[in-house]
């Protein structure tokens, strides 16, 4: 079913989209889709969807699905990036749709395939390099979406990310498929304003990065929210954040998902524990089979069924893992490792150790250039209200690190800060 068919099949008065003052029912959205379709955009079109207003952008996306050859979903932050013109060129776009107009770009030379369904192009966030275009289909993006309307209608999902980033799009598609209401928050606002928007919209389901959840818990306003579903993803999830969320939102189901723009949704963990069961290595998920390389990297074996002879491909997820007993834990990104005189340090692993201390509400571990060893490990800390002085807390952190880390992994410099910056995808920025 295309997205517009999904809307058509939803009860007409079902509230599906809320954005500020706008409240759009299925019927209201469908009327907008019909107006868009009257514009006679050719089936051969390859669209760059550059609409800034998230609510409008989603209506366009729904209308274009199944109508055109491909849609490049352009997140706001990407449009402003110097990498964007090259990506749009690679996507071979014939039209660009913005808030104001539809612009015809140079004619497409490649013959379109009228039979195939619309191709969806998503850009990686480029946290570790130049953003890349990843082709998806509606089918590949929605294969893990639940379609139970009875349960779905009880959920009001909040969206705190750009809907055209992979994590945001997953929330949008899940809400549309189960007829849940979706509340679009102002993603550029601070956490306090977002909390007000979540409360005003009676949001009871939210998917966000561990960094966002920590900020939400630090706000002191978390008690005003009632969640039934809490989803975490995009960064390694440690036990401290899972426990803190369980204590604060005792009625919520807590799920952490492993997904990325490149591989799609990998798997979900629902037992309230960090990492995932080692049994997962023997199972086949919709994205493929999980394996661990000799160097400790998580690999995904996917089957390419588009050709007559199915082939297997091994994808390197770039995530480092380690097995402890029957559990596999995420250590961090391989590409983000700090090199201390030839010894690799994974910042996320050091962060998870430091975060175990109750006096630490947030921490980011970064490399610092050093004339003796190339790089050193440094930590920026947001401290909780505590009787300890900064010097005493520093000592406590170092002592705590010594118990579980190697010498070169312990932050050589520790700085206290008021806030830790996250990037447009809600992840901690280590640059």
């Amino acid at each position: 079913m295309t997205l517009s068919e999904l809307i058509k099949h939803s009860p007409a008065d079902r509230l599906l989209l809320v954005a500020g003052e706008k409240h759009l029912t299925a019927q209201a959205i469908y009327s907008r889709i019909e107006i868009i379709r009257e514009q006679r955009i050719p089936h051969t079109a390859r669209i760059a969807l550059e609409v800034d207003d998230h609510c409008e952008a989603l209506i366009w996306m729904i209308a274009l699905d199944g109508l055109v050859t491909s849609i490049f979903l352009v997140p706001t932050s990407l449009k402003q990036s110097p990498d964007y013109p090259e990506l749009r060129h690679q996507a071979n776009c014939t039209h660009a749709i913005s808030d104001q107009e539809i612009v015809e770009l140079s004619a497409n030379q490649t013959p379109p395939n009228r039979e195939a369904e619309t191709e969806w192009l998503l850009a990686t966030s480029g946290t570790t390099g130049t953003p890349k275009l990843i082709p998806h289909s509606r089918k590949s993006l929605t294969r893990t979406c639940k379609t139970d309307y009875t349960t779905g209608r009880m959920f009001t999902w909040g969206l705190v990310y750009d809907p055209f980033r992979f994590a945001g799009l997953q929330v949008v598609l899940q809400a549309l498929h189960s007829q849940s209401t979706l509340v679009l928050c102002n993603v550029d606002a601070g956490v306090n304003q977002i909390i007000d928007e979540l409360r005003a919209g009676s949001v009871n389901a939210l998917s966000a990065t561990p960094s966002f959840w920590r900020k939400l818990l630090m706000s002191g306003k978390a008690g005003s929210l009632n969640f039934r579903q809490i989803t975490l993803g995009g960064e390694p999830v440690d036990q401290s954040i899972l426990d803190a969320l369980k204590n604060t939102f005792s009625l919520a189901k807590i799920t952490h998902i492993y997904a990325s723009t490149e591989i799609g949704v990998g798997f979900a963990v629902k037992d309230g524990k960090a990492g995932f069961p080692a049994d997962f290595l023997n199972q086949t998920f919709s994205a493929g089979k999980l394996k661990i390389s000799e160097g400790g990297k998580l690999l995904l074996e996917t089957q390419n069924t588009t050709t007559t002879n199915p082939t297997f491909e091994i994808l390197d997820t770039g995530d480092l893992v380690e097995q402890k007993g029957n559990r596999i834990y995420f250590l961090g990104r391989d590409s983000g490792a700090i090199n201390v005189g030839g010894n690799k340090v994974i910042p996320e692993m050091v962060e998870s150790i430091i975060r175990q201390l109750p006096e630490v509400v947030e921490v980011v571990v970064k490399p610092k250039k050093n004339s003796v060893l190339g790089q050193l490990v440094t930590a920026e800390i947001v401290a909780a209200a505590t009787e300890l002085s900064n010097v005493q807390l520093k000592e406590k952190i170092v002592t705590h690190c010594k118990a579980s880390l190697e010498k070169h992994q312990i932050p050589a410099l520790i700085k206290f800060v008021d806030e830790i910056v996250v990037n447009t995808t809600g992840k901690i920025s280590r640059i």
Partner: protein
């Protein structure tokens, strides 16, 4: 506080945080490699001094100088400070 005093203070701090011990008293003629601090300790010492003084003289050097004794090390900081 003179450079020397600051360096001695931080030297001991770093010994402490890296669980290292001075092999004997820290004197001008103490050979750095035998002092008890390993290369990680030195890296931290230089980084901590940069935090305090705002510069890393080893980065700024046109030609690399490798200090042998503790006095050599202090001299590098003194000379950098004197250059301004």
């Amino acid at each position: 506080m003179s450079n020397r005093e600051l360096i001695v203070k931080i030297f001991h701090e770093v010994l402490d945080t890296t669980d290292s011990c001075l092999s004997s008293t820290l004197e001008d003629n103490t050979v750095l490699l035998d002092s008890g601090l390993d290369s990680l300790g030195f890296a931290i010492l230089v980084a901590r001094l940069e935090e305090e003084l705002g510069f890393d003289p080893f980065v700024e050097m046109k030609e690399a100088v490798y200090p042998t004794t503790f006095a050599d090390f202090v001299k590098i900081y003194d000379e950098r400070k004197g250059a301004f």
